[in-house]
């Protein structure tokens, strides 16, 4: 397979909320993504997946750990040439279609912002031509160029966001919950669009979402996060076939399937209680408070991510 484009080692991002209150949004996460691959990242609200995405792309400085994108240390000191290169080759698609576009700018200028910054267009004519071409590649057309964001539906705005990200022809895109605010039929449109763009432009995706079925459809490999830790990482079919971590098992069994016969035959693992508060977390397996197979060794420290089967990593003292 292709070579590694992004490598994240032991990444942590903490927020100090007050005197003694530290929110460990991301706490020691390591993974890597190969060129052309899509890594899905799932987890419930408060698990730190969005913070991880924004730290990897450089919006938040990492508290600890290292992020290497094609040899460039994203978190550390960067030359202006490197900063330019990163701002061209790494891009992000956001969640809320209503706040991810500047309401006061025409779609033409929104998409062309990247082109202007990196002087990719010789003159205005070429700039417009490139924007129209980008609009067509996301299923919109010239007629939409001179309109303002508030004139579009949610799904169309998300496609403008994708066109903007593609404007600087990046090789790596982080999609931070791009479809959770959309209707089911529109979600499928956007996901199919992302898949076809990946093939055409050999893009690499980090796809962050909480809707597991959609993540399975688009991802080659999936990582499951819980309270700042990566608890399991495997190929998507392997993960759904043999989930090893108790939380992943509970998560997968909680998904209601759109198939009544399958639903009737299923017995569900229902987790007790709810996610504990992410502030001032103890240094032990973060899931132990809700885990059926809890043992003494779970409280000794955060279990490391261990490769139990080829390509299948899990962070749990019992499974290893």
């Amino acid at each position: 397979m292709a070579e590694e484009i992004l490598k994240v080692e032991n990444l942590a991002r903490h927020f100090t909320l007050g005197k003694k209150q530290v929110l460990k949004a991301v706490d020691g996460v390591s993974f890597s993504i190969k060129r052309g691959e899509t890594l899905g990242l799932v987890g419930e609200s408060g698990c730190g997946k969005s913070t991880l995405g924004r730290t990897v792309i450089g919006l938040y400085p990492p508290t600890a750990g290292k992020i290497t994108f094609d040899g460039i240390d994203v978190g550390g000191k960067k030359t202006s040439a490197q900063r330019d290169e990163l701002s061209r080759r790494m891009q992000m698609i956001f969640q809320d279609p209503y706040t991810s576009l500047n309401p006061r700018m025409k779609v033409l200028d929104i998409i062309a912002e990247g082109i202007d910054n990196h002087h990719l267009a010789a003159n205005r004519a070429e700039r417009t031509r490139m924007v129209v071409e980008l609009l067509r590649s996301v299923g919109l057309d010239e007629e939409h160029a001179n309109r303002y964001p508030h004139e579009f539906s949610g799904g169309q705005r998300q496609r403008v966001g994708i066109a903007r990200a593609l404007s600087v022809n990046p090789d790596f895109i982080i999609a931070d919950e791009p479809i959770s605010a959309l209707d089911v039929s529109i979600q499928a449109q956007v996901v199919n669009l992302l898949k076809s763009l990946q093939k055409k432009r050999n893009l690499t995706y980090l796809f962050i979402a909480h809707d597991l079925s959609m993540v399975k459809y688009i991802s080659d490999r999936i990582g499951v996060m819980y309270l700042g830790n990566l608890v399991e990482l495997a190929d998507s079919d392997e993960l759904f076939a043999h989930p090893l971590h108790p939380y992943t098992q509970a998560l997968l069994s909680a998904i209601p399937l759109p198939d009544p016969r399958a639903e009737r035959g299923r017995s569900r693992i229902v987790l007790e209680g709810s996610v504990s508060s992410p502030i001032n977390l103890p240094d032990c397996c973060r899931f132990c408070s809700r885990c059926q197979s809890k043992g003494k060794e779970c409280e000794k420290g955060i279990p490391p991510l261990v490769e139990v089967r080829p390509g299948h990593f899990v962070a749990c003292c019992h499974v290893v």
Binding site: G46, S274, V275, S276, S277
Partner: protein
């Protein structure tokens, strides 16, 4: 909570210090010395020196400032020139009564009418009451209170003779001034509560309440007002201040022996010590009102009072 109040008190002290410095500087560069220039020339050089020395004006500026600061801390704000040799603090407190009475009456009447108008306006959105309230609210803010006072004094006081047009003999003397002052709080309260109530009426928990099948009255009292009345506290502080400044003009129109009138008087007579004392009094009073409003707000709103760790989330 205590830490919060502590921090706020610290800011008040800093602000007061800034004001003391400001007033001291103003005192120094005010035109004309503390007493009539003609009288001062007539004095012989020795008498002049003695007078300056008695008021400590011969010492270098920083020393004067320290003495001024020392006195202020001890509550001795010097003596009034106009009311010869009566300590400023006593002058101020002697005139506090009427202002407080007129101010309190204006606020109570203003709030009572303003809030009820605003609430009814919000409930019957775009109805007659709503438009009427909006007109009253705009007029209340637009018509300066001293114009209202002048008109009330002339037409109601003089022409119709229903109420005394001035001075401070019986309670009825306080009616016209309070009326003149109450329009602004009335308008502000009406506008504010109307917007807050309209806001609350759009919230999801109002739909939940309606789905319980309760009467309009109960919905209004137990759910709508319970949430829209709390923010009113935040505008109380600014209302009180507008009244203080409003009273400056009203008290001179109705010649009421209040601190508002005192301020305008001492401005006219260049009675600096009183002016500085009043400035500090107003600032202190204003900051205490803001602090009181903030503390009351956090006590009344359960979301702040009962922090409590949220289980999960």
């Amino acid at each position: 909570m205590a830490r919060y109040i502590g921090r706020r008190l610290l800011y008040m002290i800093v602000t007061l210090f800034v004001i003391v410095v400001l007033t001291f500087v103003l005192m120094k560069i005010l035109p004309g010395s503390p007493f009539d220039t003609e009288r001062f020339e007539k004095l012989t050089p020795e008498q002049q020196a003695a007078a300056l020395e008695r008021y400590g004006l011969d010492k270098p500026i920083p020393v004067q400032f320290l003495r001024y600061l020392g006195n202020t801390l001890r509550g001795d704000l010097g003596t009034s020139f106009y009311y010869t040799n009566i300590p400023v603090t006593r002058v101020i407190f002697s005139r506090l009564g009427p202002s407080m009475l007129v101010g309190a009456q204006a606020i109570l009447v203003g709030l009572a009418i303003g809030l009820s108008l605003g609430i009814v306006a919000a409930c019957r959105h775009n109805g007659f009451v709503d438009n009427f309230t909006m007109v009253i609210a705009v007029l209340g803010i637009s018509v300066p209170n001293f114009v209202v006072a002048a008109l009330l004094q002339y037409y109601v006081g003089l022409k119709l003779g229903w109420l005394p047009i001035g001075f401070w003999k019986t309670w009825s003397c306080s009616v016209l001034p309070s009326l003149a002052l109450c329009f602004q709080p009335l308008a502000t309260a009406a506008r504010f509560i109307r917007t807050e109530t309209l806001d609350v009426l759009q919230q999801d928990y109002i739909v939940t309440a309606r789905s319980k099948g309760m009467s309009q009255a109960r919905l209004l009292l137990k759910h709508t007002l319970r949430n829209s009345i709390i923010p009113v506290i935040t505008i109380m502080a600014s209302m009180v201040v507008n009244l203080l400044t409003g009273s400056l003009a009203i008290e001179s129109i109705f010649s009421i022996p209040g601190i508002g009138g005192l301020f305008t008087e001492s401005v006219k007579n260049n009675d600096y010590n009183v002016i500085m004392g009043l400035t500090m009094f107003y600032s202190l009073f204003y900051m205490l009102t803001i602090l009181l409003a903030d503390v009351t707000y956090s006590l009344v709103d359960p979301r702040i009072r009962v922090a409590g760790e949220k289980e999960g989330e």
